[in-house]
């Protein structure tokens, strides 16, 4: 495998990881502070 496809793969996986991490943080943040809303 040439060097550049590995670099691209690494960058893509890194970006996907950051996006997934962001959504994980958003979801977990609801347990810390959900904004004080009421839900019936």
């Amino acid at each position: 495998m040439k060097r550049w496809p590995r670099v691209v793969l690494f960058v893509v996986l890194g970006l996907v990881g950051i996006v997934l991490l962001f959504f994980l943080f958003e979801w977990a943040g609801n347990f810390l502070d959900s904004g004080g809303t009421l839900s019936g």
Partner: protein, 217 residues
């Protein structure tokens, strides 16, 4: 579990806490600064479209036009906890990231009934961080297109997140503030209920209450 896995997990938790407790504050500070400027313009614009719907020789109810979700609606000031924030219309997650949000199913602040405003306690600018310091008699001011409405705290409650009754309509004009409780947990809700003691619609509301009590007798 290997040492590196533990270090990785600890790092992830640290990044999560830094994001929630500091980065979200920066996001909120930026949106509040922009909204404060926008609100001034919006209030002037809405004042021009304020309407009256009363009966002659009696105090009239002043109303204001609906505000789209996510737009600045009012300014809330609580001198005791040094809060001065722009309130947005709506209580969706995206709106509450901008600042305290007004529950659209409830009347606007200063109108008859129970206006509900929710806000974050420990993240996104933590507008209601010190809300537990309020006691009966403390002052809350909300400026809308109609003018400044002054409320006095009447009740401080701790309820479950499902206790929707705190948002139900109450005779007179009330403001209900809700936030998470205790700090750093969404297990319960801290609720502040305050009654209107001064504002553009106070005369109308007092007349309404007097006629309701007369008809009840």
């Amino acid at each position: 579990m290997s040492g590196w896995t533990l270090i990785g997990a600890a790092g992830l938790v640290l990044v999560f806490l830094v994001y929630q407790l500091f980065v979200t504050d920066l996001i909120n500070a930026r949106s509040q600064a922009t909204a404060a400027v926008e609100l001034e313009g919006f209030l002037i614009e809405r004042r021009a479209t304020t309407t009256t719907t009363g009966v002659a020789r009696e105090p009239e109810l002043l109303t204001e036009p609906a505000v789209p979700v996510g737009e600045p609606l009012a300014r809330i000031e609580i001198p005791k906890i040094k809060l001065d924030d722009v309130v947005f219309e709506g209580t969706e997650r995206a709106t509450l990231k901008l600042g305290p949000g007004h529950m659209p199913e409830t009347p606007f602040p200063g109108q008859p009934g129970n206006a509900v405003i929710s806000g974050h306690r420990t993240t996104y600018g933590r507008p209601f961080y010190d809300l537990d310091q309020l006691v009966v008699g403390d002052e809350i001011r909300v400026e809308t297109a109609l003018g400044v409405n002054t409320y006095e705290v009447r009740e401080v409650l701790i309820v479950a997140p499902t206790d929707m009754w705190v948002a139900e309509s109450i005779p007179g004009a009330w403001l209900t503030l809700t936030t998470c409780h205790p700090r750093f947990s969404a297990a319960q809700r801290l609720v502040i209920q305050a009654e209107l003691v001064d504002g553009p619609n106070l005369d109308y509301i007092q007349t309404l209450l007097a006629s309701a009590s007369m008809s009840a007798e």
